[in-house]
């Protein structure tokens, strides 16, 4: 493959359209290389975010041929078909310009989630005893690079635009890593139900499918959190036990 045709969405908040660019390819080209080449040679002001170009920072999220992908980890030969390759911004967030979207809402949601609070240290030097099996599960969640592709694909956000009531998969993964941190004494169960809207997730697993870090978002993060919410809020025995012995939860 010597060259490829790209249709790149150009525009801003007022609107825009796809523009066609012909790009000469080098071996191993990823979509981000093609975007950079367009930027350097044909359209200096083509806006896109990127940092590491190695799938570690989660900046270059976009929709390639309609699928949410990291442009730096998407090889052109893997997405090239008969027609042109389309590249457009994530559709769940408001566009700023070209491929750049306003993702600031994600940062606001995260700041609203109860922060991690450690228990008293186990050792005199201020450290804790934790075994590898204690940290394995939350370590999976901490692989998250905050590319927000899971947010982009989640239909609760994408189709129903419930940004006010639903935190989205990224933030359930974030809450899960704090909840499952062996030394954390915080409790986010009530918040997950009342503010973060975890009940709206109907586990279609779209988020898990697009995660470039292969985090098992639905099975390992969301479902266990849902179970905690259900146990706390709807289990009559647990409710009775709390009434007698005390403890956190809702009445």
């Amino acid at each position: 493959m010597k060259s490829a045709t790209f249709k790149v969405w150009r525009g801003d908040q007022k609107g825009g359209d796809f523009q066609t660019y012909e790009v000469e390819l080098e071996p191993g080209y990823v979509v981000l290389d093609a975007i950079h080449k367009i930027q350097a040679e044909q359209a200096n002001d083509l806006a896109c975010r990127w940092n590491c170009k190695a799938g570690k920072c989660g900046s270059c999220s976009a929709e390639v041929n309609g699928s949410p992908r990291l442009m730096c980890m998407t090889r052109v030969e893997d997405v090239a078909g008969d027609g042109p390759i389309t590249v457009e911004p994530m559709r769940t967030f408001p566009v700023l310009k070209d491929l750049v979207t306003d993702v600031s809402w994600n940062y606001e949601v995260k700041a609203s989630i109860q922060k991690m609070t450690p228990r008293k240290p186990d050792f005199e030097d201020g450290s804790w005893k934790m075994h590898q099996y204690d940290v394995e599960r939350p370590q999976e969640f901490r692989k998250c690079i905050e590319c927000f592709l899971c947010q982009d694909v989640c239909h609760v956000l994408r189709d129903h635009q419930m940004h006010g009531e639903f935190a989205g998969p990224r933030h359930f993964v974030f809450a899960a890593q704090a909840e499952m941190n062996p030394i954390d004494v915080g409790d986010r169960v009530v918040q997950l139900r009342e503010e973060l809207g975890i009940g709206y997730c109907n586990i279609t697993k779209c988020c898990t499918k697009v995660c470039p870090e292969n985090i098992t978002i639905t099975d390992n993060a969301i479902i266990p959190l849902k179970e905690r919410v259900v146990d706390r809020s709807y289990d009559p025995l647990a409710k009775l036990a709390r009434a007698i012995f005390g403890g956190s939860g809702e009445e």
């Binding site: 290389d33 002001d45 806006a47 590491c52 920072c57 030097d125 590898q132 954390d184």
Partner: protein
């Protein structure tokens, strides 16, 4: 007059990687109002790319380790051009900084008895690097970010600073623009911390992201700060080299720490050929001893693949030059071979090096559990940087201006040990934050000049007002990077360095004519034109310092002066802006080391 938005903070931190975040957290804890400016979104800074780990002599895996050994290793690695005081503070304080990260949510890999696990790394005598697989940098930046957002810090995302503001000698703020709409911003502050990271984008083949354009080095320099040791640029020995699209992307030293070996196209493990005198006693004699070392035998010595980065990089270049390179001009890095020793090696490699597995699988179509990788040197790190007071991190010449992390010079001397960067960020980030807050409290009054703001605004708008030009900003950047790669790269000589300085001046003249099309909204062409000033400044500082140092030491190799010369071991090169605006270079003697530290160096051998 130009329009701008104005912000006022007690302490302004420029840069939000590990050092900037740590500085901001510390300053906020001291009770002052803190602003944090990041060029990208929060949490995307280059710290996320760090892989191998954070050096801290906790002694969890080998109790013989302690700050003294870490100090001596750092000094030896830096060929004794380091600031010994910074090396001392760094070795003493990094364990506490590592444990503090755990309190803030970091989850490092564990030892069997439930402590933070530590791994072997080049130049470190004992297993010392706290790590999480090969994504330690991500763990660190995310921990600092998630803790930082609850400390009342004002974060300015996607804002680029183009100039520092002065009140007399003192630094009192910064001028910049937001990427989103190109609106100007003026930050007024009682103290400013530069934590802008590195300058790898001055070169064509680099592990650095677009952000690494030496902004802080250049902002500091133009504001009157001194730069030191700028000739020392670390070329990391193992970057990806094929396909071209991935050239330069880092392959962690952790691959070698886990037993990976380097071979040439004849299948020879060439690192055994030539061991530097400083390290002969610490290096394994046989592959068998090397393997015992990486698997934790305390009596074994490290394999030669874990010698310092400068040496390994030069050895790879030599193999290529002498016709024994890999097909695409590098060496073979083989981790798959450990199947000879480990039963379930495939799962082991995926567990220990998950992102390397991922990176080669997706980008190069290589399964590293089965085949060797092709690797070669990539521009990775600037040892040199802004000259600071070792205890406070305040610049030597500009009151109120501090620097921490890669942008500051001194800790690493002529060569940095792997793992000493992540610890550098938090040790000196903390110190810079603490002392910047103190300076702000002690020096509350200052004024900012409108004329200076107007000057900065005119300068920032110039490329846009010129409109699109025949030669655009990206072409000019490419021209500079190509030249730096060829003439100021891993092997240097007088003639090429002089030519480089000529080309830098010529490109600077061209830059004055270069413009970009489009408008002020998120315009990468315009942004690149503005970044070019910084790239040119750091390129000149590197080339001038490299031409001046007529010996080979650490990361600096001169073909015309191939030997290390003791006469060059007593001073550092200092670069500053002269009275007439020209770059001036001078020698500054290294202050005499404290006797107890000298004793440690001699005892540790």
């Amino acid at each position: 007059m130009s329009q701008y938005q104005e912000f006022e903070h007690d302490v302004l931190v420029i840069g939000a990687g590990g050092a900037g975040l740590r500085a901001a957290i510390e300053a906020a804890a001291a009770g002052v109002r803190v602003g944090l400016v990041c060029k990208s979104l929060l949490g995307k800074a280059h710290t996320v790319m760090a892989e191998g780990g954070m050096a801290a002599s906790m002694g969890n895996v080998d109790e013989r380790d302690g700050w003294q050994t870490h100090f001596a290793d750092t000094m030896r690695g830096g060929q004794y051009l380091n600031s010994w005081r910074m090396a001392e503070l760094h070795a003493k304080e990094s364990p506490e900084r590592a444990r503090e990260l755990e309190a803030w949510g970091a989850l490092f890999d564990r030892t069997p008895d439930g402590k933070i696990l530590q791994r072997n790394f080049g130049g470190h005598k004992y297993p010392r690097l706290a790590h999480v697989g090969d994504r330690t940098g991500l763990e660190m930046i995310r921990t600092l970010q998630d803790h930082g957002i609850h400390q009342g810090i004002d974060v300015h995302m996607e804002v680029t600073v183009t100039r520092l503001l002065k009140d007399g000698d003192r630094c009192v703020g910064a001028f910049g623009y937001d990427r989103e709409q190109g609106r100007f911003r003026v930050f007024k502050a009682k103290a400013v911390v530069l934590a802008t990271g590195g300058l790898g984008r001055a070169y064509l083949v680099t592990s650095n992201s677009w952000e690494g354009t030496g902004d802080g080095h250049s902002l500091g320099y133009h504001a009157g700060a001194e730069l030191r040791d700028m000739e020392f640029i670390q070329f990391h020995p193992t970057g990806m080299i094929w396909p071209p699209s991935v050239r330069g992307i880092l392959v962690t030293e952790g691959v070698r720490g886990e037993g990976g070996i380097l071979k040439n196209n004849e299948g020879t493990r060439f690192m055994f050929d030539d061991i530097p005198p400083l390290y002969v006693d610490q290096t394994a004699d046989t592959p068998e001893e090397g393997w015992r070392y990486v698997t934790g035998d305390r009596d074994a010595r490290r394999p030669p693949e874990l010698l310092t980065r400068d040496h390994v990089a030069r050895k790879i270049v030599k193999e290529v030059q002498e016709g024994r390179g890999s097909p695409h001009g590098g060496a073979f890095l083989d981790i798959a071979w450990i199947k000879e020793h480990i039963k379930d090696s495939e799962a082991h490699i995926k567990k220990k090096l998950p992102s390397m597995y991922h990176q080669f699988k997706e980008l190069a179509g290589i399964d590293i559990t089965k085949e060797p990788m092709e690797v070669g040197p990539t521009t990775h790190y600037a040892m040199g940087g802004i000259a600071v007071d070792p205890d406070t991190q305040m610049t030597t010449t500009v009151p109120g201006l501090f620097a921490a992390g890669e942008v500051a010079g001194g800790l690493h001397g002529a060569n940095r040990l792997g793992g000493n960067s992540l610890s550098d960020l938090v040790v000196f980030g903390q110190r810079a934050g603490e002392h910047a807050a103190r300076f702000a409290k002690e020096n509350p009054s200052y004024s900012v000049s409108e004329a200076e703001i107007e000057g900065a605004a005119v300068e920032a708008l110039a490329p846009l007002e010129r409109g699109a030009t025949q030669v655009g900003p990206f072409q000019l950047q490419f021209e500079l990077q190509t030249m730096m790669q060829n003439k100021v790269g891993i092997a240097r000589e007088e003639k090429a360095l002089s030519e480089a300085l000529g080309t830098i001046r010529q490109i600077a003249e061209q830059l004055a004519e270069v413009g970009s099309g489009g408008n002020r909204w998120y315009n990468p062409g315009w942004h690149t034109a503005l970044d070019m000033k910084h790239l040119l400044t750091v390129s000149e500082a590197i080339a001038i310092s490299a031409r001046e140092r007529k010996e080979s030491r650490g990361a600096h190799s001169r073909l015309d002066h191939p030997e290390k010369d003791a006469a060059w071991s007593t001073f550092n090169h200092i670069v500053r802006k002269g009275a007439d605006g020209e770059m001036v270079i001078e020698r500054r003697d290294i202050p005499p080391i404290r006797q107890e530290l000298q004793d440690i160096i001699e005892e540790e051998g």
